[in-house]
Amino acid sequence: MKVLMLGWELPPHNSGGLGVACLQLTKALASSGADIEFVLPHYPSDSGFEHMKVTSAFTKAQQFLEIENVYDSYKFKVTGEHREYFNISDQQSAFEEAVSYIASRAEFDIIHAHEWLTFRAALRAKWETGKPLVVHIHALERDRAGGADGNPLVREIEATAMMLADQVIAVSEYTKQAIVDDYGVPADKIKVVHNSIDVEDFMPVDGYNDYKYFVDLKNSGWKVMSYVGRITIQKGLTHLLKAAAETMRREPKTFVMFVGNGEQRDELIELAAGLGIADRTFFVDFQRGKRLRDAFKVSDLFVMPSVSEPFGLVALEAAGYDVPVLVSKQSGVAEVLQSCLKVDYWDIDEMANLMTSVLRENALAGELRNNAKREFERLSWNGAANNLMNIYRTHVEGVPA
């Protein structure tokens, strides 16, 4: 089965869970026999993968000055001496042209596109090659907009792609329901393929923890609540801070740590100061590797109160590092992880109540940790890969899944 896969980011040049999910999924698909060419806008050639071919759509002639954040709404494109403004729509257009060219020369059976940014290119490739198209919804515009409508142009692209594709994949039942309700896509066209995580991908955590300050304070009875991910309105972090302030009234020896970056950071700093808890609130910037693992290891509770979360892979990661997890009921991850605490993202009193309980009651924290671990060991991407391989076959060979 030859798959032309379109994506927007891959580790280590990712800004969030999308790149991680794409990488894990392709690994599992490859071991199920898929032959994948993964096309994304720009990927440095020196960090290739063995399980698939990675192709940069933009050639070296178009060097980007800024490739740190793949979601920048604009970048500068440099071609020789020439330098031009390149907004997100221009990037999609350029990507579409490049994919059209790549698709005309590549051999493949099916097109699999992740996220709306690749959908224009995917539709054109389907039109020009006649191959079946699978669109994979990791998040909807209304999720990114924190429950609001978001950008109508983005919604338009999402809606058109879902209508014209042969198959829609949603990362959770929660997201499938949203697609049916908000976009009017027939439910039987949408299949849920949950994200997952592989135990063997977890790096061992060595003895010395980089967060020495937290480690030392924990030894004198302090507790750490953490959030890891983009600092953005979608994640419900103002609710987290307000609940944390409530919790600190009852359990003063509590810290909150935000690991990540995003447009809402400064607002949260001011909110923490306004709540009088800025001396116990830490913003640790985006981390990967050891400092990301160590962040989980110093945490007594992981909190992700997203306003609307299609999946939320990071919560599984937290569970994998033995951290009790509290997520919003508006999160897809709650469908695959039973041993976690769930709360409506807007219910600050209840959130504070649950936070306080976990921090106070070692028995509760221990149960959550152990049971999640047990669930976690059964998880793997293989199930997701099997589901997808069946879906591919249905469309390529006409064999019912």
């Binding site: 020495k212 030392d216 304070l217 004198s220 700093i269 001011e270 800025a278 640790v284």
Partner: protein, 403 residues
């Protein structure tokens, strides 16, 4: 009838800025102020830059003026944290200040050693810092200050009373219209609740003509010449003295040499002293010569900053309040630690500039605040500072003084 006097007062200060300091430094490295000299904004390189652009050429000019005009007088204040940095990185600047003072016509005002707002948070700490500064001024210049200026000219009635009780002859404050009402800053006053001490008020309009507007080509009075400025002062009546108070760094740093600021200073005595009824005065001469016209009541704190003339540039937002509140809350364990390094770090972290960098009221006063910050944003400044705060806290926990 005594002569009309210019009381020129220049305030020199540079903080120990906190280096880029992350949570991964907290609990590991305590060198908050070891800024990297590869960075042009490192503490050392700022001292070198300001010395070359401002301190050295200005002191040279002031010395020439003192030699040329026997009536020329200057008043200074130099913070303790600047004196330390000069001792380390620019001893020739320190020497030039000492030469000025040696003429006997340059006075130095008392203030907090660390350029702090301790008066409003910890009275005992404030008194300690003023004493440290007195000791340092005595050691380096052989002077015992008799006039007090608080950080950022922050003044209220309580400070006036404190200064009288502690033997000061005079105290400095902003001549702010809502407080003065119909009265003019060009006379001597008495702080409410005091009997002997005198209050000298900055003439902010004339001072800011030099300190802020001098290089502004859009200003209708631009270019401002020493001749024109002297003329304005001559025509201002009635008036006994003109309190021209400003940052020392006005000369060469805030106002650049190529805008003619040194030429202005050079020619000011010449034009002003043309009239035999004009002179310059040191603080003590002014205090000897002029008697209070009235009592001034400032129950609320007034500073020399911004259009609000209050402390909002340092304490106006919740980040600033949290940062300074957290730091002063460490006072008791810090002082009981008997650890001189911890005490000194705590005090250096009290310097008001740290809180100024966290100011978010950019929109009305943006140009002044944007003037210099080593941080990308007020939020970065806050996070950086708090990481250092937590390290200081950690050191106290290690000593069993906090949990």
């Amino acid at each position: 009838m005594s002569k009309k006097a210019i009381v020129l007062y220049l305030h020199a200060h540079q903080p120990y800025r906190v280096r880029h300091y992350t949570i991964f430094d907290t609990g590991n490295y305590h060198n908050y102020f070891d800024t990297n000299d590869d960075d042009p904004d490192s503490n050392r390189r700022v001292i070198e830059k300001v010395s070359a652009k401002s301190y050295l050429p200005t002191n040279k000019l002031l010395k020439e003026l003192l030699e040329r005009y026997p009536e020329f007088k200057v008043n200074l204040s130099i913070t303790g944290v600047l004196l330390w940095q000069l001792e380390n990185w620019a001893p020739e600047v320190l020497k030039s200040f000492q030469e000025l003072v040696a003429t006997g016509r340059v006075e130095i005002a008392a203030e907090t050693f660390y350029h702090s707002l301790a008066f409003f948070y910890d009275r005992g700490e404030f008194e300690q810092q003023v004493q440290m500064h007195r000791d340092k001024i005595k050691e380096l210049f052989g002077l015992e200050p008799t006039v007090l200026r608080n950080t950022e000219l922050a003044y209220n009635n309580e400070l006036g009373v404190w200064a009288e009780q502690h033997g000061y002859r005079g105290i400095l404050a902003e001549g702010w219209d809502p407080v003065l009402g119909w009265r003019s800053p060009n006379f001597m006053y008495r702080p409410k609740g005091t009997e002997h001490i005198k209050l000298m008020l900055k003439n902010y309009k004339l001072s800011d003509d030099i300190a802020f507007r001098f290089g502004d080509t859009e200003w209708k009075e631009w270019p401002l010449t020493a001749d024109k400025f002297s003329h304005w002062l001559s025509e201002t009546n009635p008036a006994e003295m003109f309190n021209l108070f400003m940052d020392y760094e006005t000369f060469g740093e805030h106002q650049w040499e190529d805008k003619g600021i040194f030429g202005f200073l050079e020619h000011l005595p010449e034009h002003w002293l043309k009239n035999p009824d004009h002179t310059f005065m040191s603080f003590n001469e002014a205090l000897d010569t002029f008697q209070p016209e009235d009592e001034i009541d400032m129950p609320y704190t007034v500073t020399w900053a911004d259009t609000e003339r209050d402390l909002t540039a340092w304490l106006g937002n919740s980040m600033q309040q949290q940062a300074i509140g957290s730091m002063y809350a460490l006072g008791e364990p810090v002082l009981s630690s008997d650890d001189l390094a911890i005490i000194d770090d705590w005090r250096k972290l009290q310097t008001s500039d740290h809180f100024y960098y966290m100011c978010t009221k950019w929109f009305s006063d943006g140009d002044v605040h944007a003037y210099f910050s080593p941080y990308d944003s007020p939020y970065e400044a806050f996070m950086n500072y708090m990481n250092a705060y937590h390290d200081l806290r950690w050191r106290l926990v290690q000593k069993g003084l906090l949990e």
